[in-house]
Point group: C3
Chain length 483, copies 3
């Protein structure tokens, strides 16, 4: 972290040496944590869920300018700047509006906005990730400030123009063993195919995310379903054809290396309708005669269908429920859905997932990885369920809770009922390629610190802690996602 | 804990000595905690709520084999093994099915299943309790592993065949001052009577748990009510007779030493119906003409009745709400209700308990001890209510949350609004006799660690911390349960 | 704290020196915390929200006796004594009942009740505040006990009779830069005017709390609305007149220095009715023909109205939702609303505040400070919303959660999504003048301890931590409340 001038490798008074970042401050525990961390620091990165574009890795051309790459595309950062009064238009967020005559802000201006509001990110994970990324990926150790931001911008821009900062070079440098992207069910996966067919050995697999064709509550659902029918050569005018088309697309993804699907529903509701009911509901929705409750029932039914398909084709199922998308409707209408205006809501799991788990929760072919934005459910519903159903695993802290504090809460609130082995280790959910190592590093440090606490309390042997640290950082994500 | 070879009494590098298990790692705080712990370590055990069978203590014959005793009967353990893919039938869980031709697994095979999955329990309270039990009760210091499990099994089996491992000998060795069992309202308490009449001085008291006769939502309710009428010699065909029969059974329990009742309802709802309404509802339910809502209203009404009876007969009332029993209906149908498939749900207390607390919450004869599986209610509803109503006390972390982390959360989230003296100290809720000391020891260590933190922050004097540690470990449970 | 005899300035074995109260025990972290605390300890106090009476400061006569001042008027203390079985009538709680013949208890007797139950407050914030207040404000270092309580009472009583314990002298001694009171919309602010007109330079500003005239669910609403019409010289028989009257009162408050309003609603619901609907609803409620749902809709509509007014007149809007007032109806009817029987309930923010934030959340003139009694909403709804909407700021832990543990949870659960700069620093919410310094001191110590942890984990430079400590203790409340 560049923010500790004069204390680069040695500890200043009361400060940890650089390499002890995020490790527990108590010297004995820190000593154990340091030892555990040494055992996982350089393990390959496994990234089974994230938001990097395969196109960028296939094309392997220069990444965008520093501001677009590290600010405008990262809604974690833009939302916080916005909360401090920076207008969204000043951050080049969302698709540019052809009818909007205002000039798009210059990237350097956006970067200056970040520097001017840098204090507002003090202590936040976004700032920590950025500082680590600037230092470890770009070699920049000057602290960011209004006075230094221009020279840092230039330095970043220079780096990004170099060959060793092209996407594939970064991928290799980071030690990424495998990366799974998040792709629409309608994606033809040409970028993934291009990567696979070229000599570059990087393993970039598609992830099947069918929300656009499965969530009838979305305005563009009907259009997406029509396109689904075309791509899959099925008559999606009937429910049976629609289901076959989805199965067909899953096969297509699997044949391109996919091992998992992902489902981002407003709730975790799962409910199997009988065939006739499903047909009628589908027809009604297709005819635009359904209401909000119909859309919710159809999503619940489709969750059951996707679980059934997972049993059959072996694709691991991920569920990311509980976000209210586009809380701020006027701004979403103007700037799009990626402005950081999604807000978590209370989420119910015990009743909602019961039909799904009763039916498929014991099937050895099935695996369901559940994430949550409602931390009250960690110890109340999710860990107890994961500690019983063989098919159920817990995803790591997600989105708002992917922070040192959030990672610690997750461990402390799930360990007692789910243990470590009903969780999947870390998934970075990253939005920019350069930020990936920082995210994994934070998780590895925090998990090692947590394990060190168990050792210091004599609840775990040092040897078991070593093994567990490797499990969490490397083995469990590979196992859980069948990678 | 046997898992620290070569570090038995001295600390290895970075590891606490054995006697410092679970104490805070910071040396100053640990020193205070150690001193506090010395003051409570050897206090007698008070066990006002648990699931040991009085029959075992009355018969005083050899306990079952190690696997049945420590695995099959403990759903905390079987559920976790099941989550790792071990079939329930391989764990001899639940009643054996006469129509099921498959052989019951051999106890040694079950024990080997535990050893094979021992890593999956790393850091979990069940493993910690087991390790402590093996060491402190059975003197086994070899770490459990697939290579050692057979010899450990043999050693355990040998111990269990010895006189000093008979139930009464263990009871005495553990320093159990009093133990309260959990008994059906239909229990004739012959085992409790047998214990009381024999020369062995162990104090084993019945606990009145009337769910089978009070919860009209249970399939066997009607049969249980009929049996209630027979035992109590009352006409349970009428509501008035039913109430008299329950009062009669409470008297019977009280005359056998009971000081408390326990109620395990799906929700905490309490609502007093007027006499005529209660009569009609009871008649409808008895005629099997009621629905789910009727059953819930009847439970809510009966909670009010039981509170009223507690005011009259002085039995302390416990409430354990919020578990969804048998979340996995197909497996519950096959293997019974004790397979670890109960899942906590969000639980409301402020509105639900209002009628009960308004009516009886100031009555000096009344005492209500509330437990929860929804930790979000600790600081939001339960501690604020317990910090106002004289009759309301908080039970310790229950079930899924009876862990070092859970015990710490309970203290940290209830102290500010309820203090220590509106809680009841520790109740072990144990499912096997040999595990009782380990459970109390964990609670004593964690509470001493928590108190030591307050002393180190100068929020409590050392002297007050000493007194409070004794209160939590010994005095408060006796006071709260009128033992 | 008087409770550490013989360890006044030096640390006893394992105990922190007095000045390290509440700082983290680990020596390195404590060293950093101590340094940060030195930078904020003596900063002026900014008190933008509390419950001190302006009348007391205007009159500047002797404060009441020690028991009335520190016990009877503080429902945090009386509720806890009541939970231990002390009858409310023995604590002189609430308005005296002219029909109640029982003598009001003597203050000294009330004080003795506190001493007799002092153990029950061990570790609780109320005891800590009281101990700090006795020592730092009154110079009393003898620990409170049944044996010492009479002499301590006498000493307190003597102090309170001295000139340097008159309200204005205390205000000056405490370094209060500004204090905002909480006043009914019907208040004529004569005491505030009197203070402003006199030579004493103390800055005591009114706070506009219109619940009595805006919450149609209150029994006295209609009477209050009539009075509102008189004071504002508006025809409150019409909705338009009612709105004008409120705007008029806000202007009046603003002209007396008010910079903020406060709204204590059962829920956070906000919903804008159209003009005609609002008129009809108002008329129905005024005619006493409305029901509970009408009252809730009217509150939701008025929240939108108050937000709109805030945009226009610049008064900062506070929202304190989620308390179930008077949980114990019988006792509330007998002793009034200030007996400590309010209980928090689960509170929803994401849906409830959506209409308000969509409409006004980006308006630079608008500022909404939200408090909560449902800590599950910190990381789930509130911090994510505050990290997006420019107008939304988070108030500090409120009421039941204004404790060392509660303050730490607030920081640990909001930092990741809201940072420090979407919170408003500390507001004391105090109920007695002498307790104000203790409350601020606790918050300053806890925040410095939290920041020190970030420094020790190398997530924040020492310099940034220093600045942030000053922000939280002093700059942010002034900025947020426009003081």
């Amino acid at each position: 972290m560049t923010a500790f001038p004069g204390q680069d490798e040695a500890a200043g008074p009361g400060l940890a040496p650089r390499d002890d970042r995020l490790l527990p401050p108590e010297p004995t525990v820190r000593g154990i944590a340091r030892e555990l961390y040494r055992g996982v620091r350089d393990l390959p990165l496994v990234s089974p869920h994230g938001h990097i574009e395969a196109a960028d890795l296939a094309a392997n051309v220069r990444l965008p300018d520093p501001a677009t790459l590290l600010i405008s595309r990262d809604h974690y950062v833009t939302r916080l700047l916005h909360s401090q009064g920076v207008p969204l238009e000043a951050l080049a967020v969302g698709p540019s509006d052809p009818h909007d005559r205002r000039a798009t802000p210059q990237p350097r201006e956006i970067w200056r906005r970040l520097a001017a509001n840098w204090h507002a990110l003090r202590g936040m994970p976004s700032r920590f990730w950025l500082e680590q990324t600037l230092e470890t990926v770009f070699g920049i150790r000057t602290p960011l400030s209004p006075g230094t931001c221009d020279s840092i911008y230039d330095e970043l821009d220079d780096c990004l123009g170099r060959e060793d900062f092209l996407p594939q070079a970064l991928f290799d440098r980071f030690g990424l063993e495998v990366m799974v992207t998040t792709d629409s069910a309608l994606d033809l996966l040409e970028h993934h195919r291009a990567i696979a067919e070229r000599p570059w050995p990087g393993r970039v697999l598609p992830g099947f995310r069918p929300d656009d064709v499965a969530d009838a509550g979305r305005p563009a659902w009907r259009t997406a379903v029509e396109r689904l029918g075309e791509i899959a050569s099925e008559n999606v005018g009937t429910y049976a054809g629609y289901i076959r088309a989805l199965e067909n697309r899953r096969q297509f993804f699997a044949s391109h290396g996919a091992t998992s699907t992902d489902h981002g529903h407003p709730s975790a509701s799962a409910e199997l309708l009988d065939e006739g009911e499903a047909e009628r509901l589908y027809a009604r929705l297709l005819a635009r005669a359904g209401d909000l409750a119909d859309a919710e029932r159809f999503r619940a039914h489709m969750l059951m269908q996707f679980a059934r398909m997972s049993c059959e084709d072996g694709l691991v199922m991920q569920l990311h429920p509980g976000a209210m998308r586009g809380h701020d409707r006027p701004m979403t209408a103007r700037f799009g859905t990626d402005i950081g205006a999604d807000i978590p809501t209370a989420t119910e799991y015990a009743h909602s997932l019961r039909p799904l788990l009763e039916r498929h929760g014991h099937d050895p072919r099935f695996r369901l990885i559940v994430f949550t934005l409602d931390e009250a459910t960690y110890s109340r519903e999710l860990a107890p369920m994961a500690g019983y159903y063989p098919a159920l695993l817990l995803g790591p802290p997600w989105w708002f809770h992917d922070s040192p504090e959030g990672l610690r809460r997750f461990r402390a609130w799930t360990l007692e009922s789910a243990g470590f082995f009903n969780t999947v280790g870390f998934t970075d959910d990253a939005r920019s390629l350069p930020s990936i190592p920082a995210r994994h590093d934070v998780a590895r440090r925090v998990d090692c610190g947590f394990l060190a606490g168990l050792v210091a309390e004599r609840r775990l042997t040092l040897e078991d802690a070593h093994e567990t640290a490797i499990d969490l950082a490397y083995r469990l994500p590979k196992l859980a996602y069948r990678l």
